[in-house]
Symmetry: C2
Subunit: 354 residues, 2 copies
Amino acid sequence: MNRILKAGILAGAASCAIGGTVVAQGSAQGSDDELRQTAAAVFGPVPDKVDEVRGNKLSVAQVELGKLLFFEPRLSRSHVISCNTCHNVGTGGADNVPTSIGHGWQKGPRNSPTVLNAVFNAAQFWDGRAADLAEQAKGPVQAGVEMNNTPDRVVETLKSMPEYVEHFRAAFPKDADPVSFDNMALAIEAFEATLVTPGARFDRYIAGDDEALDAQEKRGLGLFIDSGCVSCHNGSNFGGQAYFPFGVIEKPGAAILPSGDKGRFAVTQTASDEYVFRAAPLRNVELTAPYFHSGQVWDLEQAVSIMGNAQLGRELQAEEAKAIAAFLRTLTGRQPAVEYPILPKSSATTPKPE
Amino acid sequence: MNRILKAGILAGAASCAIGGTVVAQGSAQGSDDELRQTAAAVFGPVPDKVDEVRGNKLSVAQVELGKLLFFEPRLSRSHVISCNTCHNVGTGGADNVPTSIGHGWQKGPRNSPTVLNAVFNAAQFWDGRAADLAEQAKGPVQAGVEMNNTPDRVVETLKSMPEYVEHFRAAFPKDADPVSFDNMALAIEAFEATLVTPGARFDRYIAGDDEALDAQEKRGLGLFIDSGCVSCHNGSNFGGQAYFPFGVIEKPGAAILPSGDKGRFAVTQTASDEYVFRAAPLRNVELTAPYFHSGQVWDLEQAVSIMGNAQLGRELQAEEAKAIAAFLRTLTGRQPAVEYPILPKSSATTPKPE
């Protein structure tokens, strides 16, 4: 079967939105051109810049405010944890530990997803319980095991600092009361939307640079498509678009798929959503170990093999897993250049850390 | 008595090294010129740049490596805590909590001193137990209540990442085995030496800009000198040069001076060093609350009043404490512009977080 058609069918079967770009191609099967065209059709590059979210143009003032807030430890009750603690822009947008450490050194239930390119995901969190990054941003701030704060206390904190009040006014000029928990979240989303990683070798390849991938990487790309990985991991973020059971064919062991975490079932209370998770976006995946929602697998080749068994019912040969992993490493893009923000100073009325 | 002579005598009495710049002046007592000249003589500005430490020229490669290491959470056993966690360059070079939170959410015994301008201090830590920033950098990495790591494990971690090995080679080209715990510390010191804050209003004032301070701030500066604060807080960092008992005249209460922490006594085992601490450097002090080694005082005016009683035996009037605090706020300089570093990626042999 023509590779592009096959990819299209797979994507369609899995109900993935890939923008209707799947088209039949006439080029010879297995040729470089065909592979590139298929890849361009089902994946697509990371754009250089994101200018709007949900149709709203992002303003410089919103992005600047969002950057302050993203690095702001006073959003947490302890004044020690910021968004960047678990979504570290210097380490692939994640924290590279199995599950994040939060307030009181509590360990969260799931591995921290990368913030890089997260704006391209259809929904946020491993179970997609937040529709967008703004909704997502409100979660960890309030979670007892993460920042353990409350919206009221956050707003009180931000209002206590004249510099923040000014920033909120500039970012939300039409609002009568701009310093709000909702606007905090919108500003964080605006900054996070700038954390995209264009220029990956894969993106150069689909743009026409045949030398950008070597033979093993191209073989890995072909395997990624032909084996069916593409069914769930597609679109410009190689995932993040839809939900799938972890263990379509065969459930992984309890270390990797702990029975207590039923994934999207907690969101929908629908039996068919037991152990269903959002397909992990794979951009920069070489930087975001350990893998899976449980964060129990450190090796990318091993993660690929586990997925072969669990999702495709296929024992990948070592050489195949290696080629796919090599291909996945070509998804690492230019990491964001972020100047560390100088944060507003506390005032006498700023709530103290607890 | 002429203010400059008085400041000189006070400084001399307290055995402070101020570079022999105290000279008698002929200008009229109380005049702006005299105040400025005295201030310039006993304090001095923060330089725009530090190029060398202990006579060693800092190389770009050392500073760059040091920046990576300063933001490197894998120096900690948990892979969650970096130097920047407690010496946050976005919040005055400190963490703004009473005492720092470290491994396992343990609270350290003392307030985190600012890293900004720390290169100008005669020794590091509240008790001066580290001769310089390189020696200092080794402490928190190993402290059980901070990063809880070991030199061997740190070196193993750094050697596991080819990018780090390259950086160490470039930074220490003459070393046969450049990736070492000592070189880690030297590189961190090199980066920290760049974290200086020139351009404070006070510095503009002593450079001749009479408008840089208002009347209250000038009154505060005069009080700071005439009341004797200058005896301990002098030099370009307004402290950090010598050791003094906390409570020369009257010991503060146990909340502020806990009896269990005998300060420099732990370093020298000398009875006269009980409750002796390094005079806190006061640059950017408005950004580094809470105050004192115990971190129990949040209000700068209150901290000034406590010092008046404890060190000078003088009940400062509210207006005086306010003027001194207003003056101290003129010591805030340009905060460092630091681009967040993209850290080397872990390899299969990188030790896992614990």
